[in-house]
């Protein structure tokens, strides 16, 4: 079975739940202190697809890096990115479409997944529909309950595998 290793960057505003998503997905090896000291914490998790094993090296970036628009340089060499926002805070998703466009334009080979997190805090189905229709949203997740968390990384790994196959071809 083919083995792929890929850098994946997790970006989004402060307090949207990026670190909680990683904690839910991986067995965390390093302390969160790295986030406050150097703004990045790296973790890894292997996703097994029918065609390949994809080892994701997940770079969890501090929200400040996103807000100060410095996340671009961290996307260098990335095969994938997860853009996270908080479903309960419009300020975290108001500009999500323009950010998605910018990433797609600058890094066309990156597999990008957008995530509306904290879905457990929003019970109104109409509001969820509104989010899905009006804003970029591949998944609604809850790091608290684990809802869709695995799916996010599965989709990302699949996208990375497909891009890698295209490159090889």
């Amino acid at each position: 079975m083919q083995e792929i290793r890929a850098k994946v960057v997790l970006i989004g505003s402060i307090g949207v739940g990026k670190t909680s998503l990683v904690e839910r997905f991986v067995h965390q090896k390093f302390s969160n202190n790295y986030l406050s000291s150097i703004g990045v914490r790296v973790d890894s998790k292997e996703v097994v697809l029918p065609e390949a094993k994809v080892k994701l090296l997940i770079w969890d970036l501090a929200g400040e890096i996103y807000l100060s628009n410095q996340y671009h340089k961290y996307l260098l060499g990335s095969a994938g990115a997860i853009l996270v926002y908080d479903i309960t805070r419009p300020d975290t998703y108001d500009s999500i479409q323009s950010v998605t466009d910018a990433i797609n334009e600058e890094y066309s080979k990156i597999s990008l997944v957008t995530v509306a997190n904290k879905a457990d805090l929003q019970e109104d189905p109409q509001f969820k529909d509104y989010i899905s229709e009006e804003h970029q949203c591949d998944f609604m997740t809850s790091a608290k309950t684990g809802e869709n968390v695995e799916m996010v990384f599965q989709k990302l790994a699949q996208g990375i595998f497909e891009n890698s196959s295209k490159l090889k071809a």
Binding site: E3, K7, K29, D43, W59, L76
Partner: protein, 257 residues
């Protein structure tokens, strides 16, 4: 014609002739007295028993005179020697507890091992992609926790420092952490993280970097186009292991402490 100076000389000679004679007499008397005193001391010194008696008799006076001076000198000397000793103990203690785990301590078979505890030891070399932070190849003497994550974190730290100091030309070259040092050396799209323990010794560094250079010149050429296959990576890893195994042995034979 006599000058004014000659007149003064004649006057001085008339007025002081008597004083002069008296002065010569005093000098003679003094010289005789001094010579007899010296003779007496010489006799006492030549006779150890007599000298001991004199010293014994004047003991309290000698102690009174020399005591304060000698005391201060001795106190200063002792204090300075104690400080030196403390410093040396402290240094040895730090060296011993920082460098050697008890396991290492007992595994050393001679005191020479203790002397060389400060000597730098090459532990690990990681070849990392500069942008992605992905580990390309490695040489490792001991198994470390997930080298992929370690490579990622080094890249994150490097990137962080270079962003903070807004350095386009300079790059982070050394991470110093306790007994471990990590040298970072860039080659095009890749960089090496060279991990060693012991003192940061310039000649050791020079030798290691020269070896890394020579390895890169021969073997990194296959990575230059950026498209690296799994086969390339595994091939490179075995070449790297071969190369640096030999380097490590050579380094261990030389002392850099």
């Amino acid at each position: 014609m006599t000058t004014q100076n000659d007149t003064f000389d004649q006057l001085r000679s008339i007025l002081l002739s008597k004083d002069k004679e008296e002065l010569y007499q005093i000098n003679d008397n003094l010289r005789i007295e001094l010579l007899s005193e010296i003779e007496a001391i010489k006799t006492q010194l030549d006779d150890p028993d007599l000298f001991s008696q004199k010293i014994e008799g004047a003991r309290s006076q000698i102690v009174d005179i020399l005591g304060p001076v000698m005391g201060r000198m001795i106190r200063k000397y002792v204090q300075s020697e104690i400080e030196k000793l403390n410093e040396s103990i402290q240094k040895s203690k730090e060296r011993i507890f920082a460098k050697a785990t008890w396991k290492n301590w007992f595994s050393r078979d001679s005191p020479i091992g203790i002397q060389n505890m400060d000597a730098p030891r090459l532990l690990e070399i990681l070849l990392i992609n500069k942008d992605s932070g992905l580990l390309v190849s490695k040489y490792s003497k001991e198994k470390i926790t997930d080298p992929d994550i370690v490579a990622g974190m080094f890249t994150a730290i490097k990137s962080f420092v270079e962003t903070v100091f807004e350095q386009d030309i300079h790059e982070l070259g050394l991470i110093d952490y306790g007994e471990h040092k990590i040298l970072l050396q860039t080659y095009g799209s890749y960089y090496y993280a060279i991990i060693f323990s012991g003192v940061n010794n310039a000649s050791f560094k020079e030798v290691v970097l020269a070896e890394v250079d020579s390895f890169s010149e021969i073997h990194l050429i296959q990575l230059k186009d950026g498209a690296v296959s799994d086969h390339d990576i595994s091939d490179l890893t075995s070449r790297m292991t071969n190369h640096f195994e030999k380097v490590c042995k050579r380094l261990e034979q030389r002392s850099y402490s």
